[in-house]
């Protein structure tokens, strides 16, 4: 994976895409082989504070804390002084369009807004690598498309490198510079597909011929890899 890329791991449930992501984050130990991060084995790389953030499937916010306190959490844990942290948090909230909700509690927000808070929390530490585990999987399609577009804007403006897990072909095509297609039993990467389309990608791109061709190609690879026509697993 190169810097500045937006790489998506695409595959059916149970192919190990989330596990792979968690290995990169150091949450799961690989049973064999090594994970290299910034050219070093993970163990060595983890000794320095890693400019890496993880956004989970759920928003995983603290229900008792305000949006502001939730986003400030990683800075608090790292011992960043309160005043500096607060300014960074306010900037972070503004960048996901939630500046007005700093004092709200998570339960007062919609699912999409909670996910935005989670992303703001991921970005407030100014990571260079953002790991995202099906972050919009639980949202309705309209909200998901909006957040996808917003995510691309953040990726561009911040110069992030993103490793994104999804089981949606359309989401993979829309977002990625590169899609790693995975298959289950045994979990493996079957193909590395570049999506050579220019950014910024707007709503028009979603209905373009190029988009459908990429989607078609990914679908074919997935079908071939799974051996049988298992439509449900591809969703």
């Amino acid at each position: 994976m190169r810097e500045g890329e937006f790489v998506t791991l695409l595959g059916p449930s149970g192919c190990g895409k989330s596990t792979l992501l968690k290995m990169v984050a150091g949450l799961v130990q690989p049973s064999a082989g090594r994970v290299l991060l910034w050219g070093q084995p993970l163990q060595a790389a983890s000794r320095v504070p890693r400019p890496l953030s993880f956004v989970f499937q759920d928003a995983t916010l603290m229900p008792w804390a305000t949006v502001l306190a939730n986003v400030r959490l990683p800075l608090d844990l790292a011992g960043v002084p309160r005043a500096e942290a607060d300014t960074r948090v306010r900037r972070g909230l503004a960048s996901v369009g939630l500046a007005r909700f700093a004092d709200a509690l998570p339960r007062e927000l919609s699912g999409g807004m909670q996910m935005r808070v989670s992303i703001a929390r991921g970005l407030v530490t100014e990571p260079t690598l953002l790991l995202m585990d099906e972050p919009f999987g639980a949202l309705d399609e309209i909200t998901r498309n909006r957040l996808d577009a917003d995510l691309l804007a953040l990726w561009k403006s911040r110069g992030l490198t993103v490793l994104f897990v999804t089981h949606s072909i359309h989401e993979a095509v829309f977002l990625s510079t590169r899609v790693l297609v995975m298959a289950a039993r045994p979990g493996r990467i079957v193909e590395d597909v570049a999506i050579d389309e220019p950014y910024p990608r707007g709503p028009d791109f979603r209905v373009s011929t190029a988009f459908s061709q990429h989607a078609r190609r990914l679908q074919d690879i997935l079908l071939q890899a799974s051996g049988d026509v298992d439509g449900e697993a591809l969703s």
Partner: protein
Amino acid sequence: MSPRAQQVLWPALLACVLLGLWQGLVVMLDVPAYLVPSPWRVAQVLVSDAAMLFGALAVTLKITLLAFACATLLGVAVAFAFVQSRLLEAALFPYAVLLQVTPIVAIAPLIIIWVRDPTASLVICATLVALFPIIANTTLGLRSVDAGLLSYFQLQRATRWQTLLRLRIPSALPYFFGGLRISSGLALIGAVVAEFVAGTGGTGSGLAYQILQAGYQLNIPRMFAALALITVTGVLLFALMAGLSRWALGSWHESEARAE
């Protein structure tokens, strides 16, 4: 009408109806006061014997509150110890259960013999009764941390202390308050039971002692008055804990949040 007002109004209305029925039956059937006194008669005794009864209430209440405070402090301390060390929990938890299932009436005489100071012995008895829900609930609470949030804390390289302070304790609060609610009532029950045991030895002067004395003298109205005081105290304690819980958890926890 607000739901909160309804919560008070309907039980109060029912109480009025039942008391009226009771009063009416006692008067109509001419039941003697030494069998079943009328509510009015009980109220009269509450006023005429106020000094004695409320003095006794103060004694019982003091024991209850001391025991409740001890149970809370001790219970929380034990729960923290359990969460820090599985070994400690495995070793000690069966004994916490043992303490819970042993009837306090059976061990109260021993404690009263061993501990000279009457107040201290009563407080120990009541503490033993009130302790278990705090230990069990707080331990459960400290363990019931959202798995995703725990991974997040791990990922951010949070120290054990940070995780405890910022994640485990806030997560445990709803359970802890549930424990407080149960224990407040149990502390009162424990205090009264211990007084019953001790009262026959002539050391007590709390409400249970008054009930015993009134029983010997067949002063049934006073017995009812003392009983009413105990009950009202229990209800008030429960309401106080419920209020405290609502205040502390307020807007964030499902159990206290208003339906929208």
